[in-house]
Each structure stands twice: as C-alpha cells, then as structure tokens.
Symmetry: C2
Subunit: 456 residues, 2 copies
C-alpha cells in the first residue's frame, strides 16, 4: 500500500478535521502516510495534534501527523491537497451581513435565489476565492501530480473557477447529497437499501433516482406527503431544535411540488426569495428556528461549532476516551474512501463536483456539476447525458449558473458595475442608489481595502 | 432571373409592407415574382393592394401582388416566407400592461432587464409565439425549401425557438443595428464611410468595431462625449420630439461607460431597472419623452403608426404621387437585398439572427445571436470566434439569455411556476403574492383563456 503525503489546508476547523483523522485511522490501506495539518491558528493546530496522537494511540493506526503554519510545506510534493480553509472568521462575514441589512438586504447581499446558505460566500467572498486560487496555484506549481480536493465553499463556484483557470486536478466534494438518507428514514425506509441519484450543481441537486427493493420509491414519498406530512410537521414545529432538520420541511415538499423532483440536502436551504423574505416566512417554511439561514438558526449553528470544540478540549484534558464522540467505523464522509480510490486505483462511485463535459445534458461543458461518478487512479470518469426536467434546468440551474458566472466575472475582472448589477436582479432592491450605497459601505469596512480596490 | 413566390404573413402592417413593396420595385432581379400579401385584416389588404398597384404603375416594376386572408395560400410552395405578424392589436398588450401596473409592475411584467421594449413580447407573448410556430410549422410542411425570414418580434426568442424546434430555415432580421449611422452622424462622421460591427443578441448588440478612414474611430466617440455631449443633451432636452431619438442619449453614454462598448440601436432601450424605475428616471436618461418605452413615448409611437396609415390612405384617395413618401432608391432595410442574395446565390454581408454555432465565443451553440454574416444561395455562413468583453457577456448577455430560456421553457412546457419565478427575479416584486395575483389577473382577461390553461 502506498505511503503518501496528504496536505490539509485549513485543518483548524476541528470538527471537520477530527472526522477526517477518524476516517484515516479506519483506512489501513493508507497507513504509513504523512498528514500535514496546516492552519494559521497555532492553538487549533496544537489541539488537533494532541487529538490525533491520542486518538491514534487509543484506537490504533499508523500515520505521521505534522502540524504547520507554512502552507507550502503542506502542499509541496503532496499526493493529495485538501482545501477546507475559510478566509477570515465568521465575524468578518457577519459584519458584511449587518451592513447589508442596514441597507435593506436581509441576510446579506450575498444571499440570492438558490444560494441562501449563510457561509456560501460568492459575490462577497473575494478573499476566500483568492485564498482558494492561491492554494490551487501552489498545487499546480509545487505538487503538479496531486489531486486537489476542494471542500471549502463555495464548492460550485470554486471548482468551476479552479478547473477553468488552473491545471490543478480539482475535485469538489460536499456531503449534502447524504440528505437522501433522511428522506428514506423519515418515510420509513432503510437508508442503506435505497438506490439513489441526485444531480445538479453543488447545493442545488435534485433526486433523479430513488429506488427501493428494485422499484421506484417516489410513490412512497407521495404517499407520505399525502398521509403523514401534516402530522409530522405538527410535531416538528413543536420540537425542532436542529435548524438543519429541514430535509422533510414544508419548504422541501413545496419545492418538490413546484419543480417536479425532490430537493436533496442543502438544496432545501435554497429557493427563490419566496421562502426567505423575512424571519416569519422562513419559520413558516423551515420550522421554528427559521432553518439554518435565519438569524436564529445561524446563531445556533455558530454557537454549536464552538460547543464541539469545547467538548473535544474537555475530553483531551480529562484523558477520557475519544471514540464515543464518533460513529463506529467510517463516518460516511466520502473523502477518505475517495483518496483511497485515487491512490490505489480502486474504482468506486462518489458524489463529486467536476466540470460538466457532457455529464448533464443542456449545460455548458465548463461549469462544475455535482454528479455521481466512477473514480479510480485515473481520476473522475463522468457519466454522460444525465437529464433534469426543463423546469429545474431553466427555473433553477440557469438562474443559479448566472449568479456563478457573475461572481466569477467579478472576481476575475473586478469593477464596481458587477456589484451593482448583482443587486439589480434582486427583489430586495428598490433603487440603484440603495445597491450602490450598500456596496460602498461593505467595501469600506476594515479589512476590505484590497477588495475595494479590486471592485472600484 | 428567377421568378419566385414570396409569402408575406402579417402584411397588414402597412408602414412596413409599403417599404417592402418599395424595395421590391427597386430590385429588378426579382421582377416577375409573385408576392402574396396575407393578413386577417381585409381592409388593410385592400389598401395595400391599391397602394402596390398604384405605386408600381407610378415608378415601374413587374410583380404580381396577390392579397389573401388564407395563410396557407401564401406559404404553400413559397421560396421566401416572411413573418411580420403581430398577434392581437396593441390594445391587447396595453390591457396586460395596465393590469401589471395595478399590481406594481410599471410598464408590465414583460419588461425586464435588457428587454424594456414595449412590444417585444416574451413571457406574455403566448399567442404571438404560437402564431410564429404555426407559420414555421406550415413552412416546414408546405414550403420545405423556403427561407423563413422572421421579422416579427421577439426576434431573439422566436428565431431561437423556431431553429431549435422546427426544420424551417429561419433567419431573424431587424434594422436596429442601423443605429451605428446615428452615432456616426451625431459625432460628425459620414455614416456611409464607417466600417462597423455590432454583435450580441437582437436588441442587445454592442459596437465591436467602429472604424473611419481605416482607423479606429472610438476615440472620436470619447472626444464627443468629453467635449460635445453636454451641449448636445441641453439642446436635445428642449427639442426631442421623436421618442426613438436616444442613440446618443445619456443612457447610451452611461451604458458605454459601465459596460465598455457603445450600445447600438434598440440596445439603448434596454439596461437594468436603474434606467427605468419610473417616468422620472426614464426622462433623465432618455429625454423629455422618456424614450419609446415610457407611457409618453409609447403613446406617441402608437399614434404615429396610425398617422402614417392615414397619410397613405389620403395619398391614395387624392391620387397624389406616392414616391415623395419614400426615400430615393432602396430604403436601407436589408430584407429585399437579402432575398436577392439567397435566391440568386449572390454573396452579400447582412446583419442576421441565427443560432450561434460558434459565431460568438462563450455562448451556447443553440441560442440565436445577431451578427454580420455572409449570405448566399446556400444560406448564412457564420463568422467564427467573435468576442465580447466579459463584462457584457456576464452582466448583459447572460441575464438576457436567462430571460429567453425561461420564456421558452414557459411556452414549451407551460405551468404557473415559470410565471411566478419570472417575477421572483424582478426588483419590482415585493412578495410572491404580488407576483401571483398579477399573473392571475392577467391570465383572466378575455382572450387569455387558452393561455391561462397553458400556464395553469
């Protein structure tokens, strides 16, 4: 089995990195490899290193974990580069959101139809994109044979951009498609026995196949909606504590009715402004928390992230066993099995984001689609000619693609006009003065000096 | 010289048909041909027939002019089918506009970014599109070797639709590109000596080449803007009587500044809502009439149409000479020279609308672009690899293309959702209830029964 070098950029996201380490420890075929955990936050790295060593000694495994604040040290000659880095702290984005709202843009100028996800930073993600492009550029130069796994959002835009503009062999990854399991579970099916397919763009994927025991199981969804949904929602409205508990929400069912296929995972967080006008609307569609992308749900999410960190710190300090914090066996995240397939030329099917190149009919070749594909040592082998209904193509994917193209244009070419026109397609805009002033103030916050220059 | 059959559908548009007849009379290579003038308005046909015969006897020529209310009679075995038919009277669309405005959609739900033209009927043009598709279908069946010249708007959408969905050999035609002559004239150049190119989509074309005496003449536009524009506008604001006199308006110059190329012809009527919020805004950008697509300008246009009809009727009644009503020689409309090129395999360069197929880089193959192309007996030979700046591609053509795709999807597949989502991208929308109610009332007016069924 090959001993490889894995460079993890942005490893300081402890909740995510600890799961990665867990899965690596459960993948003996990669034993002997070196894992470079890179971040600019040294305290997090120390914590992570402590966790990795302790957990390895607890459950067994054989890796060399190296922590570093030097990005190039992690990337140079790596076989796998993982980008999971988010530029800036959450507060940076919350400040741009606050200013947006002052100017009439509830939840921020970055939120648009089919991208309401609060940290899927597109038009205002200048530094995040720059960071991703720097990582891709360094991978291209210092690890030309590496696979670059793009986990940092916005996966849709960044996979597209990196694949278009660099030679890095990029694969975008997200776990949102696992939402099919919640669908199955809720309507009373065993998720492990479901045969599913969900395709589209990252965070905008639609259930194109849903089979159970060899038969189409869509009728079972319809039956659940007709007979059980109301009762389910009544209970859910009383008990929803996790704002992400929306896979079977009224929003999801309404989207299914309107667009013809069931939305999967983060797709449910999207939709046009009709689901998102304000907190009241969000509560109606996404439950009492308003879903993850309301002011309530997002606050819960941000707080929860810190809670997990504290839990881990506590466990390390007390020398209590770590295994109970994780599921038995692999977590279900596909990154470690995917790495195994790439490195050992062991074909497997994974949900990946790659340039379309004929995979989904009716979309340009050079836009990143999310599809199930065979991955082996040669990389991603796309299926060809997958299809989505015209309604989803033209009412969902095209508007979403337009936003991606506008943001890419803005990132590559700069200029104020793209920011203005971004908001001229937004039902929250009442005048171009409003749009201009919102952007002027956003560009003027401390830290945005370079971004302001780019967009002047 | 070939004697051919030309079928003109919607010939009752007298202002346009009289110019067609004028040009035919000035094209001896087509003498001996039969011209079928088809309309459902018999009175107009009588008037037109009277005009054609009188004018031919006045200035010479040799055609057989046949009027008919039977569309198939005009199309069957034709060599050229011209569709210039507009479904319904202007009042039909004015009623939909009136209802739209009642619900907060100034100038109607059909007006969108980069299509503010008041009779460029896209999303509410159900019957107009159906008529065009019927004509294309009959051409396909009864005149399979004919060229179908699509003059009726929306040329962009209908050329795309017909080329995708039928085998009719369609060429979309518009005279908006002639606006380059106004640019030249205003800045003091002889329009006849200008070498120009303007490309994009119909009504959304941008000056990609503007040369004079072998040199780039864009600097002369810049100089005019810097030194003369203010003075020109001062005078223009006092004297504008023709609402279409906007080629050198502040709107045009502002678009040039924002997007990097000068907008040509009807393109100036477009833009985002920032040029069109209300009459006051329109006046600021398009002069005291508010441009052709304000309530003032549009009223002038509709009235003017009737005025020309009366003038012609008067001239016929009085037996006064008709030639003074027309320019000397060809009008400058390209349709008759184009027919000559197609029929006699005489290569010529024309501004046409055809499926892209590589003509403009970065656009799908199956969308109709407006480009200059060589036309001969084999049809349109597209140039390849024309380019537009990213700013225009992503901020103008992509949003415009999205609207076309949404309208095409709506026409082909129906359903209420496309109408709702059409308005969910509109800054005039404040709630989905507003959008739904506007459409419900529009679909409920007398005459819209079939359309309502289609969109239910």
């Amino acid at each position: 089995m090959a001993r490889i070098k894995i460079g993890v950029i942005g490893a300081g996201s402890v909740a995510w990195s600890s799961k990665l380490i867990h899965d690596l420890l459960h993948m003996p075929t990669l034993y002997g490899s070196k894992v470079y955990l890179m971040d600019i936050n040294e305290e997090r790295l120390r914590l992570l290193k402590g966790f990795a060593e302790r957990y390895m000694s607890e459950i067994g495994g054989n890796y060399e974990f190296i922590t570093t604040t030097d990005r190039l040290e992690a990337i140079r000659d790596a076989d796998i580069v993982i980008n999971t880095a988010m530029y800036g702290g959450h507060q940076y984005y919350e400040e741009m959101r606050r200013i947006s709202e002052k100017h009439g843009y509830y939840r921020g100028v970055n939120s648009t139809e089919w991208n309401m996800v609060s940290d899927y930073h597109t038009i205002w993600g200048y530094y995040q994109w720059k960071l991703a492009m720097d990582i891709a550029g360094e991978t291209e130069e210092y690890a030309p044979n590496a696979w670059l796994i793009q986990l940092a959002n916005p996966v849709f835009e960044l996979t597209t951009l990196i694949a278009r503009e660099t030679k890095a062999r990029v694969i975008g990854l997200c776990h949102g498609h696992m939402g099919y399991r919640e669908i199955a579970h809720t309507i009373g099916l065993d998720p492990d026995k479901v045969d599913f397919e969900a395709i589209g763009f990252n965070h905008v994927i639609w259930l194109t196949r849903f089979r159970y025991n060899g038969e189409d199981a869509y009728p079972l969804i319809d039956k659940w909606i007709e007979e059980k949904a109301e009762e389910y929602w009544q209970e859910w409205r009383k008990t929803q504590v996790n704002p992400f508990d929306i896979q079977m929400s009224p929003a999801a069912v309404d989207m299914y009715r309107r667009y013809g296929l069931f939305p999967v995972g983060d797709t449910v967080r999207g939709g046009t402004w009709m689901y998102h006008w304000n907190l009241e609307t969000k509560k109606q569609w996404f439950g009492p928390t308003g879903g993850p992308d309301s002011e309530i749900g997002w606050e819960i999410y941000l707080t929860h992230g810190e809670a997990w960190l504290e839990e881990l710190e506590e466990a390390l300090k007390n020398n209590s066993p770590l295994a109970p914090m994780f599921p038995k066996g692999l977590t279900g995240e596909t990154i470690v099995p995917l790495i195994n397939s790439l490195i050992h030329d062991e074909p497997g099917t994974y949900q990946v984001n790659v340039l379309n190149m004929g995979a989904i009919e009716g979309l340009p070749d050079n836009i990143a689609v999310e599809i199930p594909a065979t991955v082996d040592g040669k990389g991603v082998k796309r299926p060809q000619g997958l299809r989505l209904p015209g309604r989803i193509m033209k009412l969902v994917l095209w508007p979403r693609m337009l936003r991606a193209e506008m943001a890419i244009e803005g990132f590559l070419e700069g200029g104020f006009q793209v920011l203005v026109d971004w908001l001229m397609l937004d039902p929250r805009t009442k005048s171009e003065k409003q749009a201009e002033q919102a952007w002027q103030e956003i560009l003027s916050i401390p830290g945005n000096e370079e971004m302001k220059k780019h967009y002047r």
